[in-house]
């Protein structure tokens, strides 16, 4: 009996017609495409994009060259050299992030005791030449200066959860 039923079903294309009905219905459904350059999806304040280094309000850079980020980085994307500055404080003489290695896990940001290295909301960037995607200390500090307001606001939003 079952095989007769199956024969009937396949001979009259019943199941195929069901499938056609589904796609036919979706032809008139509301489209969910986000038309990217014109429309953007909302971003979380925890978004992990390109990196930046922050400063204290008095202009002093936060980073104390503790190398925790370098140690925790799973992709070995961070390279740090240390020096003693004239006033006796410990600072980085070199702080490079190779964005071609970086996997944007955010561990550097988590490990940082002084909130110096952070990940910003910037994700639309590119490098046209070899080496363009290597962020030096100057690049990172410049990005931090530019985005400080946003970065501060995002940290404030995140603080209740920490």
């Amino acid at each position: 009996m079952n095989s007769v039923k199956n024969l009937f079903k396949s001979l009259f294309l019943l199941e195929l017609i069901q499938g056609l009905r589904v796609t036919g219905r979706y032809l008139f459904a509301r489209k969910i495409t986000v038309q990217y350059p014109d429309e953007k999806t909302p971003q979380s304040f925890r978004f992990r994009g390109r990196h930046a280094q922050r400063r204290y309000p008095n202009g002093e850079e936060r980073c104390i060259a503790c190398k925790l980020c370098e140690a925790t980085c799973p992709a070995l994307a961070i390279t740090i050299d240390v020096e003693q500055r004239a006033d006796g404080s410990r600072r980085t003489s070199r702080y490079d992030i190779d964005l071609t290695k970086c996997i944007f896990c955010g561990y550097c940001e988590e490990s940082c005791p002084v909130d110096a290295i952070v990940e910003t909301r910037v994700f639309e960037y590119c490098g046209e030449e070899n080496g363009d995607l290597l962020m030096t200390k100057q690049d990172l500090l410049a990005a931090g200066d530019k985005l400080e307001q946003q970065l501060n606001a995002d940290r404030l939003l995140d603080s209740p959860y920490r």
Binding site: L16, T23, Y26
Partner: protein
Amino acid sequence: MVYLIITVAKILLIVFPIMACVAYLTLAERKIIGYMQVRIGPNRVNLSLLPGIRNLRGFGQPIADSIKLMFKEIIIPTNANKFLFVSAPILALAPALAAWAVIPFADGWVLADINAGLLYILAMTSLGVYGIMISGWASNSKYAFLGSMRSAAQIISYEIAMGFALVGVLMAAGSLNLTDIVMAQKGNFLHWFWLPLFPLFIVYFISGLAETNRAPFDVAEGESEIVAGFHVEYSGMLFAVFFLAEYANMILIASLITIMFLGGWLSPFAGIPVLEYLYLPGIFWFGAKVAFVLFFFLWIRATFPRYRYDQIMRLGWKVFIPITLVWIVVLGLLILLKLPPWFA
């Protein structure tokens, strides 16, 4: 001389609109499949002829695509047979266009009104497989070769079911001439052959899908299995010619279905009160019916996954051929009984 010029002009009048239809069929395909997948499809290349109309976004896409393909490099593999490699796409496109010679677009609008039109069509649609086979062989690539073998076996299998479906049409119309076949369906949509020949109509439609290597019978290309099948090694304009051939074949099959089962250029409302005064030229009805059939081609592509190869063979040999054979006998009885309104 005058005859020659007129004929050439007629040929151009057929070929250029077909090329335009092919171009916009690709856009329609991407749009319709996109809509069925809850996307919006291409909408970036705007034709700024009518700047006020925002809904025309995407209408420049086929033009942009064809320009891109024309400027791409044609790569010929080192070990390929160069002559066959270049001639294969031409062999695929030529029969797809040649078959249009006998298609009646409206009453009397036909390039060659020959008596054996149906046979000519059958011959031309079968020739298309040579382009695919030769391309697969000449590329000297495993994937291309596998694709072309699959496609050859598939097309030959479905040719038989297709041929039997045509026998049904031939019996019902009593003629091989396509114009006569349309005239035999005179009347409204209930007088067309799709009703008495319904199983053959469905079989022909599905065989048409298989014949043009369309989803769900697109094992010849099978992107997920054999990269792109017979045209892996083709790039640029040579690939574009294959593309043109596939879509020209699709439109051809759709117009054949229109002519043989859906009454060609005849109005569906003839003899129905009030509606029959809705006068539209035959070419409009023909185009509308072809578009309707083509929509089904796209709808099916958006809906069904690809058939497994043995399932394709089973469907062709063990399902379609018996169905068509049985229905030809039934049809013979219907004709003997002079069943109105079709065979009275």
